[in-house]
């Protein structure tokens, strides 16, 4: 995992398939309300992009997030989730009562926007946790 693993076929197919995985992940995230999918699945897919990059291209890969940065990103994701809940508190609702969000929409649409907000947080958290765990487990031992 630290050394470069790919041959030319693997490298080329990797470059070809990565954008599709990314787009599919965003699709799964945004259409989580009316089709199968949601934050957890999108996070797993987006985490796989970085894991694959590390597996195929080795340590000096193009798509790289170090473990510390990844764990900060996971914290940002959790904070986004909590922030949406506090936002509904500020505008006079209960915790995570999305109907209280200050958006000029019908009530179900406000709910949908709130769900999208927390799912972005969940996606960031799951993605960054997968990257952090993989990075910690496969780091080269400095002896």
């Amino acid at each position: 995992m630290n050394k470069r693993f790919g041959t030319i076929v693997l490298d080329t197919s990797f470059r070809f398939i990565i954008p599709f995985i990314m787009v599919y992940s965003v699709y799964v995230l945004i259409h989580g309300e009316d089709s199968p999918g949601g934050g957890f699945q999108a996070g797993a897919l987006f985490g796989i992009v970085f894991v694959l990059s590390r597996l195929v291209q080795g340590e000096d890969c193009a798509l790289k997030i170090s473990g510390t940065k990844a764990i900060m990103l996971a914290g940002v994701g959790t904070a986004i989730y909590g922030f949406v809940g506090v936002l509904t508190l500020i505008f006079g609702g209960n915790f995570l009562q999305y109907g209280a969000l200050p958006l000029n929409m019908h009530e179900p649409e406000r709910h949908a926007m709130g769900i999208l907000g927390i799912e972005i947080g969940v996606t960031l958290c799951v993605m960054a946790t997968i990257i952090a765990i993989f990075d910690a487990l496969t780091r080269r031992e400095e002896m």
């Binding site: 199968p36 914290g75 994701g77 179900p108 709910h111 709130g114 799912e119 799951v126 946790t129 910690a136």
Partner: protein, 107 residues
């Protein structure tokens, strides 16, 4: 001896599970216990109440959003735990290597 006792305990556990199967809810039945209590409300009203046709997302993010916040925190904590367990503290390592160098010099 302990092996035989362990096998017996395993067999006993399996036997208890197989015997008590008839007490579990009947499968494929829309009138069984897990399908009657609160899930009809979710299936009927989630479109009007949350605007999400996907019942799973509605339950996960809206009706039980507080639970999902807890789960997200659990995942985050597990990630922090992994990174902290396998961290390489640079200062300590340098000190150790310096000490090793000094000891080598002494010898």
């Amino acid at each position: 001896m302990m092996r035989i006792v362990s096998y017996l305990v395993l067999l006993l556990m399996t036997g208890v599970m197989f015997i008590t199967t008839s007490g579990l809810p009947e499968l494929y039945n829309a009138k069984s216990a897990p399908a009657t209590h609160v899930s009809p409300h979710y299936i009927e009203n989630s479109k009007e109440e949350t605007g999400s046709p996907n019942f799973v997302t509605a339950v996960l993010a809206d009706y039980r959003g507080y639970d999902t916040l807890g789960e997200t925190t659990v995942i985050f904590t597990a990630g922090i735990a992994t990174v902290l367990l396998l961290r390489t503290s640079k200062g300590k390592e340098e000190k150790d290597s310096k000490k090793a160098c000094l000891e080598e010099g002494k010898e």
